[in-house]
């Protein structure tokens, strides 16, 4: 038996190109909307994960630009300014401190890296405390070095791929002409650790002539301790600066908010364009079928039937568009991520856009609501067509 939904669906088939273009328009706006919401969710989650994976909540570095320190830290190291090792005793005296790990970052130009050479970064870490803070690190081969002064190295997954080294191989530090024995290769983590070459901190101090110096001190705070209070005490230490990862996160989120506003503006514009497209399509269709709507009324359709007819047509357009947008959001999330990464001042590792069924459902509901709102005027206009007027227009 013929029902109103079939009539509506078949009505939309009359102008296939116009209906398709409208569906694509709605689909694009749904895609942008879903991607934006996915980005809002994904970016913060990735940033939180990156920060949690650092294993410590506060970093002490030598005095310098805090933004530089924050960026360097998240990109895989610490500021290349130096502070004295003795600071560790002072910090350890604070009751809020659970543990700490010293770090010494060194970078050197490696002429054999890539086609034109490149910087190789070495992170000196303490084999006793660092692995305990980075418990999520797993080994593909080998294990951590045991001796804090050994000339040994643990390579992140990508560093091992790049250097083409396996456990047991030797690794040369250019300029210093020092060879290190590779004792471990980490599994892929999706973080900055993948590209890092870890060396015992004492060995780095010796090789690079930085005895008694550090570039950073990672501090893990006790579970219920007041981080703010500890930071306040650390601020009073001379020649060091305190970088709270909560602050780092806030700073990055502030930087990213500009990009978010931009993406939001694009989404709003896309939604407005889609709305105008839907109104235009349905209104055109109503005008083209002016006489036909009058005839439908003369054969028994009440105003609410016509309203329903036009509204269902709008609903179908928006539903198909919303579904297309959801498919695009899932299918093109990688591409969207690449595009968004280009807009951002800093992108955390991991997925920037996190899409799940509830988010897609929210987008679909939003698109349908916006679509139905767009269909109100054309549907109302159609419901008001008087059969007599349409018949008169036929006569003329």
């Amino acid at each position: 038996m013929l029902n109103i939904y079939t009539v509506c669906y078949k009505n939309l088939l009359r102008k296939k190109l116009r209906s398709s273009l409208t569906i694509i328009g709605v689909g694009l706006s749904a895609w942008v909307l879903a991607s934006l919401m996915g980005f809002n969710k994904g970016y913060e989650a990735s940033l939180n994960r990156d920060i949690d994976n650092m294993g410590f909540q506060v970093v002490l570095t030598a005095k310098g630009c805090p933004y530089e320190a924050a960026t360097l830290m998240l990109k895989g190291g610490t500021s290349l300014r130096y502070m004295k090792e003795e600071v560790m005793q002072t910090v350890a005296a604070n009751p809020e401190v659970e543990s700490m790990t010293p770090m010494l970052m060194q970078a050197i130009f490696d002429p054999n890296k890539g086609e034109e050479g490149g910087m190789s970064a070495y992170l000196g870490v303490d084999p006793a405390s660092y692995p305990q803070m980075k418990t999520y690190l797993e080994f593909k081969q080998g294990s951590w070095f045991k001796n804090p002064e050994a000339y040994e190295a643990v390579l992140g997954y990508e560093a091992a791929e790049l250097e083409q080294r396996e456990v047991g191989d030797m690794l040369l530090i250019p300029e210093k002409e020092v060879e290190l024995k590779v004792v471990g290769i980490l599994k892929r983590t999706g973080t900055q650790d993948d590209g890092t070459i870890f060396i015992p901190v004492k060995a780095v101090q010796k090789i690079f002539g930085r005895s008694g110096e550090l570039t950073g001190l990672g501090i893990k705070v006790k579970k219920d301790a007041n981080i703010g209070q500890l930071e306040q005490k650390l601020y009073e230490l001379p020649d060091v600066q305190v970088v709270s990862l909560a602050q780092v996160k806030q700073t990055i989120m502030n930087l990213v908010s500009t990009a978010k506003v931009m993406v939001l503006s694009i989404a709003v514009i896309a939604v407005i364009i889609a709305m105008v497209g839907v109104i235009n399509t349905i209104l055109m269709s109503v005008f083209e079928r002016y006489q036909e709507i009058g005839i439908l009324k003369s054969i028994g359709a009440m105003p609410e039937d016509i309203f329903k007819l036009i509204w269902i047509e709008t609903f179908i357009l928006c539903l198909l568009g919303g579904m297309l947008g959801a498919v695009m959001a899932f299918g093109l999330s990688q591409l969207t991520e690449v595009l968004i990464r280009q807009l951002l001042p800093y992108s955390p590792t991991g997925s920037l856009i996190v899409l799940d069924s509830s988010l897609v459902l929210t987008t679909l509901v939003a698109v349908l609501l916006i679509g139905l709102l767009s269909g109100l005027y054309p549907a109302w206009k159609a419901a008001r067509v008087r059969p007599l007027e349409s018949i008169r227009s036929e006569m003329s």
Binding site: V7, I295, G300, A301, M302, D305, I391, E394
Partner: protein, 230 residues
């Protein structure tokens, strides 16, 4: 259906239109009765008021004054004019309409076009069987799954007739139903209307310029300047 009851009784119907500041008297004090099962043809020159009169008789428009009873039911002349909803209810219960243009939905097939009124209102169940039966009786049974674009003008008008009959109307109102057809197809449609009147006892009101077609009616009513011609 009582063959001798009155289908339409019009008393002193008038319709005044306002065109700018000018008042146009389109129907002027018309009184007439149409019996159930009668086939009446309205003829007259353009502007004679026949379409306006038919629109009022078919409950598509309110008269300015006068009274109208349809199938013994008072419709106009009982106080306030009827609202669009009330007119729609009357129309779908009592009337079937055929127009010069067929207004078939191009993306619905023949059977679906006939069933279209039932998506809004249906007097009884079994609409699909009735639609198929109507199309068979109109010689369209082989074309049920065809789209309107695949039909000739005469065939499209047959589909429009089947659509007008799907809800078992008491009165069939045909306004220039052959206006878009050639002579041969016009006679085919005229024969169909005649058969519906004679075989099914349907009251048929035809508006036409074609005096040849009008001759098939029991009665010819001529209008001039909004009045019944003597």
């Amino acid at each position: 259906m009582n063959a001798h009851s009155t289908a339409i009784a019009a008393r002193n119907l008038s319709k005044v239109y306002r065109r700018g500041t000018e008042e146009v008297l389109a129907v002027n004090n018309v009184s007439l009765e149409i019996q159930t099962g009668e086939y009446v043809a309205f003829i007259g020159p353009s502007g004679s008021g026949k379409t306006t009169l038919i629109n009022i008789l078919g409950c598509l428009d309110n008269p300015s004054s006068g009274g109208l009873d349809i199938a013994g039911r008072p419709v106009f002349g009982q106080g306030r004019p009827l609202s669009e909803r009330e007119l729609t209810k009357l129309r779908r219960e009592l009337f079937g309409y055929i127009f010069q243009k067929f207004y078939l939905i191009p993306t619905l097939n023949v059977l679906e076009n006939v069933l279209l009124p039932c998506t809004f209102y249906s007097k009884d169940s079994g609409a699909e069987e009735r639609a198929a039966e109507l199309l068979r009786s109109l010689g369209m049974d082989k074309r049920m799954r065809h789209l309107p674009g695949q039909l000739s003008g005469g065939e499209m008008q047959r589909v429009a007739i089947a659509r007008s009959l799907i809800n078992r109307p008491q009165i069939l109102l045909a306004d220039e139903p052959t206006g878009n057809l050639d002579s041969a197809r016009s006679h085919e449609i005229s024969a169909v209307l005649q058969e519906l009147n004679q075989r099914d006892g349907l009251t048929v009101i035809l508006v036409t310029h074609n005096t040849e077609l009008a001759k098939a009616a029991h009665r010819i009513v001529e209008l001039r300047d909004g009045k019944l011609a003597a």
